[in-house]
């Protein structure tokens, strides 16, 4: 039954055109960035940074490096937007359209319904991250070929890896990026369970995300950064560390699991108490 219900939720989700907006925009953005990188002065700038640190630029100016360069801003801005959009729709849109009454005239418990919907949202989040990683890698290699990985996040990270090591770090990083995507989707999903419009649920989740990000960026709040949701969402970046700080990864992962469980429990409690009327 769970399979049938999840299949139904995925049919609904992937039957809608708006579900593909995120995939399309990410594909176009990565294509534009790769072409721009190739035919602008961005590559020489990167080469200078590498050579200034004693590395041979040709070895690291690769498809993998460009894919990672694109990954960072997209993971910060576009990814939260599209997962919040879908998460905010999951319950509130069905209430708005009246289809939830049709579902709730059937013998499925509200908690089970929410769990199935959350699973469908998580599948979307995983696929969007997979698309982000896949499109980036494909475009990067088409325009720049195979080579080592160079990751530079000003003030946070400077790492270089051989091609084979780079692939592993890129894959693991994207795997942990799904945790970020699912967590933001869960926040939007929680708001979607309240008596609000789908757009309001999305905006509330994005506001929660951006307010955390703003607080985290204030230098005087640095010592409190482990309280911020967004601080832990960046665990995927830790995968580019040399060596990977696994204890920090474990810490952030535990906090995010806690956030996700809280989002789900609050969402279920609110939804369970609601009267669903036309």
């Amino acid at each position: 039954m769970l399979y049938l219900q999840l299949r139904g939720e995925l049919w609904k989700l992937f039957g809608k055109k708006r579900t593909y907006i995120g995939f399309t925009i990410i594909l176009l953005t990565q294509l534009i960035v790769t072409v721009w990188f190739k035919y602008s002065r961005a590559s020489p700038t990167m080469a200078r940074i590498l050579e200034g640190n004693g590395y041979l630029a040709e070895q690291f100016l690769s498809g993998l490096t460009v894919a990672t360069v694109m990954l960072v801003p997209i993971a910060y801005v576009l990814l939260p937007l599209y997962v919040a959009l879908i998460g905010g729709d999951l319950v509130a849109k069905e209430v708005e359209d009246g289809t939830l009454r049709m579902i709730l005239s059937r013998p499925i418990s509200r908690v089970r319904l929410l769990l199935v919907k959350w699973l469908a949202g998580s599948v979307f989040a995983v696929l969007l991250v997979a698309a982000l990683a896949g499109f980036g890698a494909v475009f990067g290699h088409l325009f720049f070929g195979i080579g080592g990985l160079f990751v530079f996040i000003p003030g946070e990270l400077f790492s270089v890896f051989s091609a084979s090591e780079g692939w592993q770090h890129y894959a693991v990083s994207n795997t942990f990026l799904t945790v970020k995507a699912i967590s933001i989707m869960s926040a939007a999903f929680m708001f979607s369970c309240f008596n609000v419009k789908p757009a309001a649920a999305t905006i509330l989740a994005l506001s929660f995300f951006f307010v955390n990000a703003v607080l985290q960026e204030i230098p005087y709040f640095r010592e409190y950064q482990h309280f911020f949701f967004t601080h832990h969402l960046n665990l995927w970046q830790l995968m580019f560390g040399q060596p990977i700080p696994w204890w920090k990864v474990g810490q952030s992962l535990s906090v995010l699991v806690g956030f996700n469980v809280s989002f789900l429990v609050i969402g279920c409690a609110v939804f369970h108490a609601r009267d669903i009327k036309s």
Binding site: K12, G15, K16, G98, T99, I103, S105, P107, A273, K277
Partner: protein, 301 residues
């Protein structure tokens, strides 16, 4: 099949249902009547576990909906006014999705139901291309998929053309007669209710003001239309003799308890009034309903 016992529902300060009790026997077609905001949809929402009662017990198919909806709703189908579907998906896909929330349904059963409601050939088209009547038939199909014993219809004729209403009415009767389904039917269309329901409950501002057989509503007042030489003096005399209790619409009289038409005719002949016509009048459900509503309004004031 349905047992509501002293069900009360408050939305904030507003009392939507006030100690509402209802017992719907198996294989009956039960009409739920009332003005807009009377509490019909709230009662149906409570029956389907979509609205939580503030107080009272709600049992469907022998199970408490509030704590065992899985069993209570296992053999229940429901249709709402303006049924909502996933418009971007096909009719068949919609049925598969909705059926998945009850139990696994074979493709054969889906095809059977599609054929039964007359959507064969259009089942793979997107629902957004369906006419209102086709959407109503799809709603019927989704309600029939789990092989229900109980059908709950919340104003299913809303927005349908006369042909569609007739078709819906015929289908409801067919479900009841051929499949033995119990049907709870909420509607504003009194003629429709009068034609198909065996029993009715009438709600007024959240309170039940009548509950009984439709046949009883027609005999609730015994009216006789009189065409006599002088209606005013005839009615005055009949009232003085205790044969009638009042005059209705200026041409009919309401017979007193245990008085029959021949006694009235006998008296009219005795006092020498020419009698041209004496016709027993059967009260329509509409008249009965309007009387109840007026009485309800008067009581409220």
């Amino acid at each position: 099949m349905i047992d509501l016992s002293n069900v009360t529902k408050r939305f904030g300060p507003r009392l939507a249902l006030d100690a509402f009790s209802l017992s719907v026997p198996e294989r009956s077609i039960y009409g739920l009547l009332g003005h807009n905001g009377a509490g019909k949809s709230t009662a149906i929402g409570i029956l389907l576990g979509q609205v939580w009662p503030t107080a009272g017990d709600v049992r469907v198919c022998g199970f408490d909906v509030t704590c065992d909806r899985r069993h209570a709703l296992a053999q229940v189908g429901a249709i709402f006014e303006a049924p909502a579907f996933y418009d971007y998906l096909s009719g068949r896909r919609n049925l598969e999705i909705l059926a998945g929330y009850t139990a696994a349904v074979s493709p054969k059963r889906i095809a059977e139901v599609i054929e039964w409601v007359g959507l064969t050939g259009r089942e793979n088209s997107a629902v957004k291309t369906y006419s209102h009547g086709m959407r109503a038939r799809l709603a019927l199909a989704q309600a029939m998929l789990p092989n229900p014993k109980l059908l709950i219809l919340d104003e299913p004729g809303d927005g349908l053309d006369p042909e569609g209403i007739h078709e819906m009415r015929a289908t409801v009767v067919r479900f009841n007669r051929e499949l033995g389904l119990t049907i709870l039917f909420s509607s504003h269309l009194l003629t429709e209710v009068e034609q198909i329901c065996t029993d009715i409950a009438v709600l007024h501002s959240g309170r039940k003001v009548f509950n009984g057989r439709v046949a009883d509503t027609k005999n609730s007042r015994r009216l006789v239309r009189l065409r006599v030489g002088n209606f005013d003096s005839a009615s005055k005399d009949l009232r003085e003799k205790g044969l009638i209790t009042g005059v209705v619409n200026g041409d009919s009289v309401e017979l007193a308890d245990k008085v029959d038409t021949p006694e009235v005719v006998k008296r009219l002949v005795e006092i020498g009034l020419p009698v041209f016509e004496v016709t027993p009048v059967r009260q329509t459900l509409e008249e009965f309903y309007l009387e109840l509503m007026n009485a309800g309004r008067a009581a409220k004031n």
